[in-house]
Amino acid sequence: MKLKHTVMAAAALAVGATASAQAKDKSTLQVVQDRGYMNCQVGQPNPGFYNLDSNGNWSGHDVAFCRAVAAAVLGDPSKIEFQSVTSQVRFTSLANGESDMLSRTTTWTATRDTQLGLDFTTVTMYDGQGFLVSKESGITSSKELDGAAVCVLTGTTTELNLSDYFRSQGMNFKPVTFEDVNVLIETFLKGGCDVYTNDKSGLASRRSAFPDPSKYTILPETISKEPLGPVVREGDNQWGDIVRWSVFAMITAEELGINSGNVDDMRANSKNPEVRRLLGAEGNLHTGLGLSNDWAYNIIKMVGNYGEVYERYIGEKTPVNIPRAGSLNALWTNGGLIYSPPFR
């Protein structure tokens, strides 16, 4: 009896390994179009960036880029299966093929881009790590943090930046490292640590859900560069191009003044050749991507341009409240870093 079990277990293992080894030769675009929906990986709900409402619908700044790709590839931004996994397994999950792309405030770093079998496509948000403290503590600068207990989430680049910053400043600190952001916040709100560190966008997002957000302040210093953007698997350049140019289409649309409200009008009446090329009224920019000629039109019509998405989910009118004007995330024409290569 025992013998039989062992044989069966061995056989099951072997079958499992074979199954996972095959079916890798079709292009991601082909696989997604055959399947009829896209698998997009987001994080555990995070106000403003990837939020789950009571009906099970995902929305948010990073979700919008998933929706944009689905609109470009499938012509329907709702044809997405969202995968919400913890940050430690995010890259493994993507590399294994469980998701087709990842869009979840993930920092582009050399190690991640070169050693994990992944490709970062482009930057959708220029962020930086900062510190959140209670106003009551009287702290006004990160230079006053010597000896502080710092709450930090594991499985992120923030842990390393934190050590680097304190080392370079010659200060000491005590990391309190959590796996679950909810336990971290509970600890921070009850005073279990003096500071909460994360990307500033993440701090603003979490603060918006605090019982009394006005009692907390983000210190002015930014201690790291955190370029956030969508990630794809390495080895399928066409798919990487689709994700990258979907983002560029949203940026270019904003630059050219195209938004979800006027896109039909612009496609029909605009004389600007770049607008016409972008919206598929002339030229053949879509062929290299393997998409239909209205791919960019679909993105802007169904999801919106870069600025619309920003203001809708994380702008000053939202609880997350990250001002865009004057920040790195303004368009390059307004002094920011949001810039797209030309559509020609």
Partner: protein, 403 residues
């Protein structure tokens, strides 16, 4: 009974070939079956490993253990061995191992003590004590451990006062606040090792006195007291040595400085929450094991001991518990293994154990998932097998010697 081969012969006649005789021999058949299964398992294992390596190479994932000697770069909130962010990933692994073993060993000690007390209390003739112990066991045993860890952490330790309003206990020798538990540390001076040697010598001498006293009791039936001698070598002699070498010990009192208390000996709240949760949870299981063990000893044993005039406490100590141990040890081993493995839930509340440091932070920074998961599994296996090995040796000693 006939041997299997002979049985085959009588059934099919003597002219049957050697091969068919071997085929009908259950012993040989068993060996062949095992060889086939063994080969299949090895092949399956080989296939899995080579396929994994192939897949990883195909996906451009770097593999190997070279990352162990590269700089980790991150800080660790609680470490018992020296650690700097400039140390290597190999060092991080060690820190994690030590932190895991630290909390596990202390939890094992407390859970055993507490479990024995509760187990005996459940059998108490005092109705209230027995009921209290029973409800303790039932409540603790029937709720998930992770939940209990959160209750201790979020419900108790984070609700303690902040550093500036900390509880100072015993005139500030101990301090308790929401950042941890601080105790005044004794810092040994240069000549303290001489006192250390005196203490060890005292322990050795006491042990010898005890053996001599036992030998004498077995020979003559008279048990001489060696308490005074033991006191002299254990306390008086080391104390004298300590004073003669100039009292080489200074006290480091935890004091409020900046954000928090500094100095002394400190453990963070997650450690306390984890330790208490593991202790409480496992002690409930141990209590049941102890109760079952004691009840497995025949009532006649107690009655016989009482009729010999042994008082109740000595009956328990000399007659019941030694026999109960035979039933207690095997399930106790698995509870100890559970403590070590359950300590990995530390990751939920920020105690930097092996899983937190290695499987979370290091895995994220170095990205070597397979290597890191494999080493973590190996560690837990080695620890578990060592514990069960040690306790099995002890178990063999206390088992009934059949002659």
């Amino acid at each position: 009974m006939n041997s299997p081969v002979r049985a085959g012969n009588t059934a099919h006649g003597p002219e049957r070939s050697r091969f068919s005789r071997m085929a009908s021999d259950p012993k040989i058949r068993g060996l062949v079956a095992q060889a086939i299964v063994g080969t299949l398992i090895v092949l399956a294992g080989y296939y899995l490993v080579s396929q994994t390596i192939y897949n990883m190479e195909k996906r451009g994932l770097t593999t190997g253990f070279d990352f162990l000697s590269s700089t980790a770069g991150f800080s660790i909130g609680f470490h018992l061995i020296d650690y700097q962010p400039t140390d290597t990933f190999g060092r991080v692994f060690l820190v994690g191992v030590v932190n895991t073993l630290f909390v596990s060993v202390i939890a094992i000690i407390f859970a055993t003590l507490f479990g024995f007390i509760m187990g005996i209390a459940r059998l108490s003739h005092n109705w209230l004590i027995a009921r209290l112990a029973a409800s303790y066991v039932e409540i603790v045993r029937n709720t998930p451990l992770l939940l209990q860890i959160f209750v201790w952490y979020l419900g108790v330790f984070t609700l303690l006062p902040p550093p500036k309003q900390a509880f100072e206990l015993v005139f500030g020798v101990f301090v308790l606040n929401n950042r941890g538990f601080y105790a005044t540390a004794a810092v040994p001076g240069e000549l303290f090792w001489i006192t250390g040697i005196a203490i060890i010598a005292g322990l050795a001498l006491t042990f010898m006195f005890r053996r001599a006293a036992r030998a004498q009791r077995e020979a003559t039936g008279d048990a001489p007291s060696y308490a005074w001698k033991a006191l002299a070598v254990l306390v008086a002699a080391p104390a004298a040595v300590f004073v003669l070498t100039g009292a080489p010990l200074t006290w480091e009192v935890p004091t409020l400085k900046g954000f928090n208390y500094q100095g002394g000996w400190a453990v963070p709240p997650p450690f306390l929450a984890l330790l208490i949760a593991l202790t409480v949870y496992t002690s409930a299981f141990i209590a049941e094991i102890v109760r079952a063990g004691i009840q497995s000893v025949g009532k006649g044993q107690t009655e016989a001991a009482l009729s010999l005039g042994l008082p109740r406490s000595r009956t328990l100590k000399l007659v019941v518990i030694p026999q109960a141990m035979r039933a207690i040890i095997p399930p106790l081993i698995s509870q100890y293994l559970n403590i070590v493995k359950n300590s990995s839930l530390a990751v939920a509340i920020a105690y930097p154990d092996l899983v937190g440091l290695w499987m979370q932070t290091s895995l994220n920074q170095a990205g070597r998932a397979i290597e890191i998961v494999a080493t973590t599994m190996l560690f837990y296996m080695v620890v578990s097998l060592s514990i069960s090995g040690l306790l099995n040796i002890y178990n063999r000693r206390v088992q009934l010697q059949e002659r």
